[in-house]
Symmetry: C2
Subunit: 207 residues, 2 copies
DNA sequence: ATTTAAACATACCAAATGGTACGTTTAGCA
DNA sequence: TGCTAAACGTACCATTTGGTATGTTTAAAT
């Protein structure tokens, strides 16, 4: 595929994602999509063999990007410190950087959008979505295990669900942010998550 | 409206809500809805003058129920204790009761479903949704203010976003629960929220 | 300069969509 | 019992839907 074709494909994906996050997958017809793209049906079906093909390409890209961001952030955190608690704090901080000083509310998470329309998609789609949730659960649970070994928690907590809380945080914050049209919700919830972690494990707070 | 008509209307609302939480609003056609209801188009349009009318009736009912549950839970909590921190703990506990020992993952929140299709709805719809978010924000912020007066927090936190965290918790947990098909996600996140609150304010944890 | 395949446009189709007009049945009340 | 309005069924319609068949243009390699 040539460069121009690849660009067009990306443009379709970007516009489709933007529209889906505001209308849902079923709420975005191909006609409306190509109309906003200033493109014809022939062009669209040259790049995607069906609407379902677009759906799969979209969620795959979104999930892969999310996983990549998570892995990179974790790797960077591991470079900056050898202490597991500091690594987690740094990891959260990197997400804080992304969501602080946003002008507009975050457009939302495509995973969540799909989850509320899951019966429209194949089982494969659910697996693609779960792959991201389960990966962060696994990585964060491992990190929490290290933290727990070094820093006994003030209150005993389940670390798997503590890890889930991180992903859950975004999904929840995005919903509130979108509806209330407040851009800082996600950043604030990240701060609370960080505070919770520090209260649980950080010995410096003993004073 | 007679009793039978009212029953039918409720049946339509219940079935529509169930289908929308799995397919999205645009993903549920009237044909599919009445097919699952074993009902004809004439019957449906006797009770709702349009699909949008159904949408409004649904979100209004859902939001009102949510507000009512919240107000009742808060009122009950205020009866059981005069201490604001205990009131909040009791309030959370009542939601824990709802979400513990669930057999199936919670079907989801209609507010969130609508939020990811907001462009399909009127501005009124957004206001109905925001009403619930803003009410719980207001009530909880007030409660946190009382708590803070009596129990100085271990770490200084923003109480408005701390209140938002409660609503956000559900929205996030529902997404994970639906996708992973795990019924206990919401209950676990409620426990973490409670733990966070206690770590912030509960003086008994000073030991 | 010619070929070739990717990139896109045009015109069309069967099915599904939300909605309406109008007919029939049912339940309660005078 | 007869009347009336609510409750529901049938048949139909214009539009939109996802998708296809068949073109034309563009860009790069031979």
């Amino acid at each position: 595929m040539g460069k121009k074709g690849e660009d067009t494909r990306t443009r379709i994906l970007d516009t489709a994602q933007d529209m889906i996050l505001g209308n849902g997958y079923a709420g975005v017809s191909i006609d409306k999509l190509i109309s906003r793209l200033g493109m014809t049906k022939g062009a669209f079906f040259h790049h995607f063999k069906s609407k379902g093909d677009l759906a799969t390409a979209l969620i795959t890209r979104f999930a892969d990007d999310g996983v990549e961001l998570f892995k990179e952030s974790l790797a960077r955190a591991r470079k900056f410190s050898s202490d597991p608690l500091q690594q987690l704090i740094i990891l959260i901080g990197q997400y804080e950087e992304i969501f602080e000083n946003l002008e507009d509310p975050y457009p939302g998470c495509l995973l969540a959008s799909y989850v509320y329309e899951l019966q429209q998609f194949s089982e494969e789609t659910r697996e693609i979505i779960n792959r991201e949730f389960l990966l962060s659960r696994k990585e964060l649970t491992g990190l929490f295990r290290e933290i727990m070994k070094k820093y006994p928690p003030r209150i005993d907590v389940d670390i798997k669900s503590l890890a889930d809380g991180f992903m859950s945080l975004f999904e929840g914050a995005f919903v509130l942010s979108k509806s209330l049209q407040e851009a800082d919700v996600t950043y604030q919830q990240l701060q609370h998550y960080k505070t919770y972690i520090r209260l649980l494990f950080d010995p410096k707070l003993a004073a």
